[in-house]
Amino acid sequence: MKRKNTIYEICIYAILIIAFLIVIFPLISVFMASFKTNAEILTSAEKVFPKKLTFENYVLAWNSENFRVGQMLFNSIWYSLTSVVILLFLSSVAGYVFARGEFKGKKIIFAIFTALMFVKLGPITIYPQFETLGRIKLSSSLWGLIVMECFSMPIIEVYLVRGFVNSLPKALDEAARIDGCSFTGTFFRIILPLLKPVMITIGMLGFNGSWNNYLYPTLFTMSRPDQQTLIVGIMALKNSGESASAWNLMFSATVIAIIPVLTAFILGNKHITQGMMAGAVKG
């Protein structure tokens, strides 16, 4: 019996390790390729590891005139951080209001925002959205996208926060109210500090989503190449005629674009994975 179990365990580990290797292979390959010269990338693709490590690609990408990695990295950082702050604010406030607030139309408003998850007209709505933003001269910059995010309802995150607030004892609010806190004050003084775990999950996933966002940042930077984020810039380079001769630039930019999200994930993967598992069960 004991022996049977050991063999079983060895099989399990073998399966898991194979799965692990397949999963990380694409990332290993791009990471290694970013240290190859362009000639080596094109001629010996069958080898994962470079003949000798060269940091030349990173230097080239950093100093390139038309592919400004530094500028794009900066854009990615400020855009993602701003987006996350907005997301955290909107989702926590709305989650609290829909959990504890009492106002006319609460149920209907919540139902409408939920139903909107299923009505997806797609990015064709960019025409009227540009029309509106164009009136305040914001249709062609990343700031326009930020403004649009300020006015949106992140309904899935709102659900998460609402569920979390509902699980907190109501006595907390009542105690604060007796001590003279207003409805809004109760949120900032009592509820918000308690939301920390769910805020971390939302923040991590939100940062990741904004960093990787492709479609809308592309639309909003069409006439402003200086505002392109890394993801937008990499895709633009890939779609351009020079892509075959620019694999080295593309790979080094790709690695630069992966490192922040990967670091964030390694630091916070417990919050992300546990948050998602909790969401699934309540779901």
């Binding site: 909107l90 909107l116 007209l121 009227p128 409805f183 960093w211 993801i231 699934a280």
Partner: protein, 305 residues
């Protein structure tokens, strides 16, 4: 009386605070959701190519053109193929891995995290990596040929079947880890005593899986299936980034077709935006129908158990 008045005053004040706290999304709802919906609905009955003065009402002509557009309906066929191949493979694979990982295995947290990790990688990066690995002189062709699976290198992006394979592969790579997490959560809720009882009764691993695990996680399984199907139906930017419809628009899904043909920056030349609006509306009607059929089927299935 005074107490009552004070209470009323507080209630009104709370109401006001509630509205103010969610004022931004409420205003945004009208400006960035309702108005665009009205815009798209209205424009779908017009010819509109963004040139001032060209706009005219054409009635149902855009809808008729869309309904008889073979290229457009083929995108639905592609989406069905994509969904029916991808979703089963992904779910079976993740259920299998989750079952293996739910045992008190050393390092299970590490494996779960690394399976989830591809989810944090942008589709654009997946596309860069795949274009390189599956290039004509790329890694995949070299080793597939060397190991005798193919006799000559494949042009992965120039045949529908191979391009679809890449789309499915990339999508499973990116998403299966999420489902592993969901399944793990579901599995930890199955009471341990059930397994112990079955083990005493002499049930093997397989029997335990099919007679205990599977029935116990059916409700969560349906949620996971709904999420997977819903996510797949909306597939749009992913295809734009990975293949951009290559070869010749054959791997377009309805959403990516809409983006590739009608959205500024992706569409080529002047397009009839009104026609695009009618396609967007047909798309969303079909999405809603599928979702409601699915939720009905689910509730029927739940009545059976």
């Amino acid at each position: 009386m005074l107490k009552y008045k004070l209470e009323l005053k507080e209630k009104t004040s709370i109401q006001l605070q509630c509205y103010l706290l969610i004022a931004l999304p409420l205003i945004g709802f009208f400006i960035f959701t309702i108005y665009p919906m009205y815009w798209v609905g209205f424009r779908s009955f017009t010819f509109y190519d963004l040139i001032p003065g060209h706009e005219r009402i054409v009635g149902f002509k855009n809808y008729l053109t869309a309904l008889t557009n073979v290229k457009y309906w083929k995108t639905w066929l592609t989406l069905l193929q994509f969904t029916f191949i991808k979703v089963p493979i992904e779910l079976v694979l993740s259920l299998f891995l989750a079952t293996v990982l739910s045992r008190k295995l050393k390092g299970s947290g590490f494996f779960r995290a690394s399976f989830f990790m591809p989810k944090i990688i942008s589709a654009v990066i997946v596309s860069v990596i795949f274009t390189n690995i599956f290039g004509y002189f790329g890694f995949a062709n070299y080793w597939l040929e060397k190991l005798g699976f193919i006799s000559s290198p494949i042009e992965w992006y120039s045949k529908k079947s191979t391009a679809m394979t890449l789309l499915i592969l990339g999508s499973i790579w990116g998403n299966f880890g999420t489902n592993v997490l969901y399944f793990t959560a579901a599995l930890t809720n199955v009471p341990e005593e059930l397994y112990e009882a079955a083990e005493i009764d002499g049930a093997g691993r397989m029997a335990r899986f099919f007679n205990i695990t599977l029935p116990m996680i059916i409700p969560v399984f349906q949620t996971i299936l709904l999420l997977a199907i819903n996510g797949t139906l909306q597939t749009g930017d992913y295809v734009i980034v990975m293949t951009n419809g290559a070869p010749g628009g054959m791997t377009h899904t309805p959403m990516s077709y809409l983006i590739g043909e009608f959205v500024p920056g992706f569409a080529s030349g002047t397009v009839n935006v009104g026609y695009g609006c009618s396609i967007a509306i047909i798309n969303s009607i079909i999405y809603i129908i599928i979702a409601s059929i699915y939720s009905k089927a689910t509730s029927n299935a739940q009545n059976l158990y």
